[in-house]
């Protein structure tokens, strides 16, 4: 279960349970409810599921994961060299 897609918050309106954001997904804008991510602001990336943001993407963690993949790549290349 659970198609959730990362998108960038372009604007915010409302507050508390009716706090909404216009979120851009690769250029396509769709409104999402931000009630569950009160710490999220314009410019943040959030994961959106069924019209609700369920988390703010932790960009540091994302960078670390990608760094890990990059290192695995480099190690692999070293192994490949004759």
């Amino acid at each position: 279960m659970c198609l959730a897609v990362p998108g960038k918050i372009l604007s915010v309106s409302g507050s508390d349970t009716t706090r909404m954001g216009m979120v851009s997904f690769g250029g396509v804008g769709k409104e999402a409810c931000l009630a569950f991510v009160p710490e999220a602001n314009v410019g943040d990336y959030v994961l959106v599921h069924a019209g609700f943001a369920i988390s703010v993407v932790d960009e540091d963690e994302a960078a670390q994961t990608l760094e890990y993949f990059r290192q695995i790549g480099e190690l692999g290349e070293l192994e490949d060299k004759p």
Binding site: L3, V28, K30, V48, H49
Partner: protein
Amino acid sequence: MTKNVTFTGGCPVPLSNQDHVTLAHGGGGRMMHNLLERIVIPAFGNQPLESRHDGAVIKVGQGRLAFTTDSYVVHPLFFPGGDIGTLAVTGTVNDLAMCGARPLCLSAGFILEEGLPLATLERVVASMARTAKAANVNIVTGDTKVVDRGKGDGIYVNTAGIGVVEHDLVIAPTSVRPGDAILLSGDVGRHGVAIMAVREGLQFETTIETDCAPLAAPVLDLLAAGIEVHCLRDLTRGGLATTLIEIAESSRLHIGIGERDIAVEENVRGACEILGLDPLYLANEGRFVAFVPAAQAERALQILRAHPVAANATRIGTVSESPACLVTLQSRIGTRRILDMHSGEQLPRIC
């Protein structure tokens, strides 16, 4: 409307719901395919029909004519970049083009629902006139009927078209050969997303427009340049994947394509990600695939790219002998999978 269903909690074995038509039958997928194969084609049984191509090519005197028909039931009637009228003309013009014919003229049959505002009809007719002019065809005959309120969706349009075949090629899946290059005229998925985007409950802020466009000009140029076109097909319902599967099955050959070579516009991509849709199965109204001998692929692409509607034409794959009747997609991460038709129309998902 309907009577309330009595709640009996009946038979626990799931009954087949195949005794009447459902929306899935119109989706361009396996169910529609089966409907045609089981009920329609066997009843009419004749050679042009059995070639299962977009239009029929008939010998008339010394020459050949292409003949095709299509019905348009799109809802909503008006969507970004087009309306039922634009579709009704381009759809049929394109089917003629896919036979390698120069479109000559169209008929237009209207089924109007009681209560339809005349202003709506005027708008649709104006679209049709404009599109026909741009596609160099005339709408020369037609028919109009009115049905009771509630028995139609505003307007249904049927158009039939005839075109002249001015070459000697047999352009059909049966002409496809192992080694042929598969060319795609542009990015996919726009029309499908444009329609879904304006349906209730699935709106986006950003407007995605249909790719609806006439395709005769690039096709006729290919033919005029002497390209040995083996097969053409425009992508409509069921998308690129369904089109290729149909051709693979009709030609009894194997089609291999690469996901990375298939362009999807950024907005369309974003919409697909949100709704859980696969752009390979989404409708298009201004895109086609061409099967040409590998040696002519580069030249064919040059010719296509001279036309705005095919400016981003690319080669997406190659035909081979086996495994026969199948389409293999090489994914973005290099693995291969076999594409199958969806059973009905692709639906947005949450899972």
